[in-house]
Amino acid sequence: MSDLNKLTITEARDALAKGDVTSVELTEACLGAIEGAGALNAFVHGTPDKARAMAAAADQRIKDGQASAMTGIPVGIKDVFCVQGVPSQAASKILDGFVPEYESTVTQNLWNAGAVMLGKLNQDEFAMGSTNEASCYGPAVNPWQGADGQKLTPGGSSGGSAAAVAADLCLGATGTDTGGSIRQPAAFTGTVGLRPTYGRVSRWGVIAYASSLDQAGPMTKTVRDAAIMLGAMASVDPQDSTSADLPVPDYESLLTGDIRGKKIGIPREYRIDGMPDDIAALWDKGADMLRDAGAEIVDISLPHTKYALPAYYVIAPAEASSNLARYDGVRYGRRAKLGQGDGIVEMYEKTRAEGFGPEVQRRIMIGTYVLSAGFYDAYYNRARKVRTLIKRDFENAYADGIDAILAPTTPSPAFALGAMDQADPVQMYLQDVFTVTLNLAGLPGISVPVGQDKSGLPLGLQLIGRPFEEGDLLNQALVLEKAAGFVAKPERWW
């Protein structure tokens, strides 16, 4: 077998089970691909020794008949996950040199299942950003190129994960999604990205951004792979007080490919002014595909959609300002060099000024402002009330019998690195316009590559599901994937 790194998780699992390939061979293929992909800047801390040891152990486990679906599968881990003994710094200078003494639940679950760790993946600092440009490692680069070889963003914040999966550097990767950080990069790179229901996947050991919105999920080449990988990542975790007490189903077994009679909602508020023709057409096409498969397409209204972005950009920074208060130069990470006579306040202020990048500083300050005396009610409490209304919109739709909602993932295809440099921060925030609503409502969503724009760049559609019904959601996504038949791959230039 050649090009083993190009296999899907499903193909690799089947080949491993038949003895056609070993995990060591799969892992070497990925390590070789990573070695040759420095220009993508996707992997930022390689762990080749660990990978080889884990692969050998996985092969033994397969030989012993103890394999699970993820045993022997080489994966990449977003830098935001703490991995014991491996630098984990959420792409922030303030965590320079931080090497966790403990393991996140998600990664522990993956290792328990026998997955192989290839290394840490690039992202926006503390998962705040939509282009991967806010990273202390420099931006990850999209394997898909623009016209004349223009370098494009892979999206963010899980840009390194998306780039690595799209370029076949790994078979799957972990991501996190607070406002769209799994789904937007998936759409920009022609890959599948699933954000589970809030509480389905443990947040223990995941470096926090906005705790009421953060959720980890898989980024893969296919929907079936996402089902397999989610099954290994999800768990009921006593270490996370918001972990849901629900058993994890066998998601793959729920992939029947039958969605006859399902009601798919098309929310009219998502048809925003200035939506590119390509994306509007793709959305209609996606609805036709689901209708052809026997689903009923229903026009629905989610009246508070317009207020999701401003509510998000109050709530997320408020939580971030609290979460990131822990970076004080005392317990871990970086401490600024102090001047003669500097006291502890100067130490905090200098450490945080040089350790946090501009976007993180901006969000901490916005959060501090909206939580400060006199503004708490006007901004923070009001945003939380609007959040209640946004969630109610979805609840009403589901109560009316809607099974899932179909919408574009992003308002544009991948754009050039640097394109947002001169934009004001709000322009960047508009990237999240279609993704952020479900984070506020705690719902699962999946982005599936469905087509390409005029210049050949991938475009994604997202399905939004009912809480804790990831199995149904994946099944609908499978139908969309099959009907779309998206097989394009980026031409190798790196």
Binding site: G97, S241, L309, A325, D328, R362, R382, T388, K391, V426
Partner: protein, 95 residues
């Protein structure tokens, strides 16, 4: 609502982030722009609506009030920028 330079300085201090005086006007402009975007929330009728505390309705989990871990001071201190004799070390706090 627009933010003055003085307010920007105050927010930066509350957030414990050093901002040079020259950078304050730009910071104030940026924060004002973002807050202006949030002003839209004022259009929503939130009369009688409860602010959301948790997105998934569930009772906060409880466990027995007992020590479950500990006894690893070296591990706790292993990432500290300055640790001495089993303590985190910081600049002098009390004169």
């Amino acid at each position: 609502m627009s933010i003055t330079e003085d307010e920007a300085r105050k927010v930066a201090h509350l957030a414990r982030i050093a901002v040079e005086d020259e950078a304050l006007p730009a910071l104030a402009r940026e924060l004002s722009g973002i807050l202006q975007f949030m002003e839209q929330l004022g259009e929503v009728d939130v009369e009688g609506v409860e602010p959301m505390t948790g997105v998934i309705p569930m009772r906060l989990k409880r466990r027995e009030d007992a020590v479950t871990t500990g006894g690893m001071p070296e591990k706790i201190l292993s990432n500290a920028p300055d640790a001495r004799e089993g303590f985190f070390a910081v600049p002098k706090v009390v004169e």
